[in-house]
Subunit: 370 residues, 2 copies
């Protein structure tokens, strides 16, 4: 069977009540589906995307040559088998790929929100998805799977909508964002804010897509460091110098420098700077225990089977942060969870790159063998 | 006895032949001494400073309240006992605290070098020091001690001037700078270069001292991440939010963000941006094996006792990089070295902060007990 990729946008006129006390009204949610929803609407798997990801998790758009960000995992006869499951991935609220975010028009004006956009939290992102699923008549899903910020959403689902998913797989993430990760985001936000072409948030998006935004490129470079590891960088680049550059030229470049430059500059052509500020804010303030006396209390809500995957060399969200969740569950008497550690040198990005190291585990979870 | 702090600058008119093939002529070297040189001039200990360090390693200048960067280690009756030893610390060539660097006047013009300054290497820094010591009549020293870029210098001394020091202590450094460290420097150099106030290197230093340079502040923030560790950050800052800032305010700040901002901005008032580019370049191109077939061949030159200190949580230069040096020495049959690992959670900065974790070891080395 084919992937049956479909992209939709749903419009909501009721206000979305945000954790901050503010509201978002109206709002859109763009989402993508793969496979076919069965009659009972009970063959659904939800995929949650990371910071700069989108609803485009699998398949190829016409005329493009880059598949969705988890294409290796999702598709016919793949780990998340679209012959069997109806897979949904939504673009989170606050993002810039169709769902309402800071550069969306602020109704009833025809101007983008920019700084008038409210800060959204991971909890808000999850709530918006829950409302979307409701409209689609989906009241229970087989599984929710996500990594990094997607893993935060998966955990937040487990706490806030405990009966919604039978199984939740959360990987390469944390129970509360630690200062190390906040610090990397800080470098990025400072670099964006201090770039004169950002114009204090009043930039023309077209200019940025055309000319780039060096501040965001610099921030993305810092991001790339946090996504990799000492070993993956050493293996990928070594101390190779760019061909024709002299070692004693001040601007001669190591390969790793070219890589960062290229990815940094390229990033500014497909991502929006204000969105970057808002989404990193959502990540920074992520804390499962917010609104509870402790993480223990928060995790007492979890009733579905919770599968935690940590990556040994993850430098952004340490595998020990994933273990804290497992240990806390154990302490409060929850026996319905497990922790799987991926032996990887790749760093945080392993959840996007080294699929072969955890796809069997994910398949076993979905097949009910784990 | 008093510390007997003295600061001097020596002027050299002979050219300094650099590793790049270029020359530096004339040049100055600023250095500081503590204690008293004995008649035989054989009670000398050399201290080597790190990236943003200077010759001011110990003691207090009149009217200042911040002591030298290794004041806890150096002084009367301290680990490096200035009652016994004559301690010298020189500002490296290429730096901005008195020795000739990119913002020094380019003889015979009365304009700073700026980009006309040649790229200098760690080997060049060490050579310049060797020439200074020669002029001072010091032809052999008791020990050379350095951490981070200072540790690189110490290792380079061991290879290039094998009979100069009886003992060498190198800590928190590497045998060749790895892409992870180069990547952090890249964020900083990009941020500096892209800042319009840097004016492509034609800035007025006075303006920068007065107004700061946000690009360098951003780069320094990235640096601070690399100097710390997940655990030291978590312990230092936790998820504390700045008082009076609202969690859902886009510009509300976590403590770790305030810390980075403060240190970043402050840094630009006491360090020079072009110098930052040149010194990080020297660090990036540091490779003990350059000019040799391999690290083995390079390390075969070492004849003095070489003491290596690694810090367990060092995220900038992994302790395993220090171990590579020890293992390589062992492989080539060198039994005159040892490796000491400091059990620290503090990260790279532990070599500046957690002196109590290695000062006993350093003392034993100096006393000939290690």
């Amino acid at each position: 069977m084919s992937l049956n990729l479909q992209t939709h946008t749903e419009h909501f006129t009721n206000p979305l009540y945000l954790e901050s006390g503010r509201i978002l009204e109206p709002y859109d949610i763009t989402y993508e589906t793969y496979g076919i929803l069965n009659e009972d609407k009970n063959n659904v798997i939800v995929i949650c995307h990371a910071l700069t990801g989108s609803h485009h998790a699998a398949g190829l758009y016409e005329g493009e040559n880059k598949a969705g960000w988890w294409d290796g995992l999702i598709g016919p006869n793949k780990t998340v088998d679209t012959n069997k499951y109806f897979v949904i991935c939504t673009n989170v609220i606050g993002s810039c790929f169709g769902s309402t975010g800071p550069m969306s028009m602020m109704y009833p004006h025809h101007e983008p929100y920019r700084y008038k956009f409210p800060v959204v939290s991971i909890k808000d992102m999850v709530k918006a998805q829950r409302i979307l699923f409701d409209r689609l008549g989906i009241h229970e899903v087989e599984a929710i799977i996500g990594g990094s910020m997607g893993g935060m959403q998966a955990l937040q689902f487990a706490i806030n909508y405990p009966n919604f998913a039978k199984k939740i797989i959360s990987m390469a993430t944390t129970y509360a964002t630690q200062p190390w990760a906040i610090a990397f985001n800080k470098v990025a936000s400072e670099a964006i804010l201090k770039d004169p072409d950002f114009k204090d948030g009043n930039y023309n998006p077209k200019d940025i897509k055309e000319n780039g935004l060096s501040g965001m490129a610099i921030g993305r470079m810092a991001g790339h460091i946090s996504f990799l590891s000492h070993h993956s960088m050493a293996e990928k680049f070594g101390r190779e110098y760019k061909r024709n550059d002299g070692l004693f030229e001040l601007f001669g470049k190591f390969q790793v420098e070219s890589y960062l430059e290229y990815n940094g500059q390229n990033f500014t052509k497909w991502f929006d700077p204000l969105t970057y500020l808002y989404i990193t804010k959502a990540i920074n303030i992520f804390d499962l225990a917010r609104g509870y006396d402790s993480l223990d209390e928060a995790l007492k809500n979890v009733t579905c089977k919770l599968h935690l995957i940590g990556f040994k060399s993850d430098m952004l969200f340490l595998s020990e942060e994933m273990k804290v969740i497992g240990d806390t569950l154990k302490n409060i008497g929850n026996t319905n969870h497990d922790y799987f550690e991926v032996d990887s040198d790749y760093g945080h990005d392993a959840f996007l790159v080294e699929l072969d190291k955890f796809d069997t585990y994910v398949k076993e979870v979905l097949d009910g063998k784990e």
